[in-house]
């Protein structure tokens, strides 16, 4: 089950107060039933805000792939979505095993997904390449034995 929470942050840019919309979600390990709900919720939020459909699709694909990675590989984790006036920033952080060879993991077709994930249609080795393709900015911090933090930014224009 995903838990979400909404809070606001106030910051000042150019003298004007802005309050980005922030949502947080729990991602449970190996919970394929609810996998994708955080991405779906984010998609609906962006749609309500009038973001272009093409941009929403890119953000949703990137977040879904990262969410699935946390479900399959990361022992679950947390997702945080921050919507700014000009972009959405999505952070998915897990405390799983980390990625030993990030360059290898970025190669399309490379997968270490277990059989149970493959049986459900995952494990094509397209997750990280899909994320990279659909983000304007992507940062992956990973440490073996400690976990992985994926920060994705998709701009609205």
């Amino acid at each position: 089950m995903l838990r979400s929470a909404i809070r606001s942050r106030t910051s000042r840019e150019g003298g004007c107060a802005i309050e980005p919309l922030v949502r947080q979600y729990e991602i449970r390990a190996n919970d394929f039933t609810h996998a994708g709900e955080a991405s779906s919720s984010m998609k609906k939020s962006l749609s309500r805000l009038g973001v272009k459909a093409e941009v929403i699709k890119r953000a949703a694909i990137a977040m879904y792939e990262a969410e699935i990675n946390a479900v399959i590989h990361g022992h679950g984790g947390m997702a945080e979505v921050t919507v700014f006036p000009e972009k959405v920033v999505i952070v998915i952080e897990d405390h799983g095993p980390g990625i030993p060879d990030l360059d290898q993991a970025m190669v399309a077709g490379w997968s270490t997904a277990p059989d149970i994930a493959r049986e459900m249609g995952f494990g094509a080795g397209m997750g990280l390449p899909n994320i990279k393709k659909n983000c304007d900015e992507l940062k992956i911090d990973t440490k073996v034995g400690e976990g992985t933090k994926v920060t994705m930014e998709v701009r609205f224009t």
């Binding site: 996998a35 991405s39 459909a53 699709k57 249609g121 995952f122 494990g123 094509a124 899909n130 393709k133």
Partner: protein
């Protein structure tokens, strides 16, 4: 040539498992695939999706891609929780006894000739 969702359901004699939520949305071609990341990457607007997968994740991927019609081949059915999710997300899911290759060929014939 393109055909509406309702025309394709009728012409392919599909068994509707949910409801038809966007009957007038136009379909220009199909996409066949069972690896979800490939589907996420390649399923385009105006395409229906042929698959033998029937998990909750099919509905998630269809919803994220705004896919108006999912066609389960080889008589694959949906379990009740997945059916409920499809209805909640307003994703039209149908099935057919045809295998994926044959179902795609039938769709292409309909799109090529324009006959319903």
């Amino acid at each position: 040539m393109s055909k509406s969702v309702s025309d394709i359901i009728s012409a392919m004699n599909l068994n509707v498992l949910t409801d038809v939520y966007r009957p007038d949305e136009m379909i220009e071609k199909g996409y066949a695939g069972d690896m979800l990341s490939h589907v996420m990457a390649h399923l385009q607007t105006g395409e229906c999706w042929f698959t033998i997968l029937n998990s909750m994740n099919v509905i998630a991927v269809a919803s994220l891609n705004e896919c108006p019609l999912v066609i389960l081949t080889e008589d694959v059915v949906l379990q009740e929780p997945v059916m409920e999710k499809a209805k909640m997300e307003e994703i039209c899911v149908c099935n057919t006894s045809l295998d994926t290759y044959s179902a795609c060929a039938v769709l292409q014939g309909i799109l090529d000739t324009g006959e319903v």
